[in-house]
Amino acid sequence: MGNGLRLEVPGDSLYAFAPRVVAAWLVAGTGAEIDAVEDARLAIDELVGAFVAAGRAVDVTFEEGDGVVTVEVVPPDQSLEVSLSPLAQRILAVVAAGCGPLPDGRKGYRLSLRAGAMS
């Protein structure tokens, strides 16, 4: 995990607030503008929501970097496909610094959230 945080989110919308809270808290902690915090909340909602709305649990890891918070969303059950809707992809293209499939072959997504410069 390094110096990052890991969140295990069950496939129940009751708990969908948790990754949103963690992302917003981390981005706000970098001194980012309020727009960046709102963008982070939206991006996490779109990405994690795609899994949770389908009743799928996900592991979400957060790593703080300079000017960015990197988030990986990985379902523990790698046997099922979950894809993002075209609308979710369009929203993510606007509110996130980057989003795409994991580069290492695991099923899941990597999301980059705009943050402030860490001191």
Partner: protein, 134 residues
């Protein structure tokens, strides 16, 4: 069903857990007064876990599990040097800081349980139930 957060031993994350627990308490429809009490209680327990990890030199993350139902259940699991529930009831002794934190927590929540974990460390679990509506 629970959401679980694993965090490094870094005091700034006390605020994150406090915020997360307060949001969970809102979803459990606890009263504002109860949510304030959860904030304080969770802060004390997580700060204690970090201190215990430092004393033990443990590099493992602290794990926080939150369950939401008609109550909120927060479990904080560390790999620290351990704490014994019995210290809360020792008569005539001046409590040290961790014990004082747990005494405050016990006074704020409906139930507080402390267990030793296999492999070392403690699991501190606090529960607060939704107040019956008037």
């Amino acid at each position: 069903m629970t959401v679980a957060l694993e965090i490094p031993t870094d005091d700034r994350f006390v605020g994150l857990v406090r915020h997360l627990a307060a949001q969970a308490a809102r979803r459990a429809e606890l009263s504002e007064e109860q949510i304030d009490d959860i904030r304080v209680a969770v802060s004390e327990v997580v700060a204690n876990a970090f201190a215990a990890q430092r004393r033990a030199g443990a590099a493992d993350p602290v794990r926080v599990e939150i369950g939401i139902d008609h109550e909120i259940r927060v479990a904080v699991l560390d790999r620290g040097d351990g704490v014994d529930m019995a210290v809360l009831d020792l008569p005539g002794t001046e409590p040290d800081e961790p014990t004082l934190g747990l005494l405050i927590t016990r006074a704020l929540v409906d139930d507080l349980r402390i267990e030793r974990r296999e492999g070392g460390g403690s699991e501190v679990c606090l529960i607060m139930a939704r107040e019956p509506s008037a």
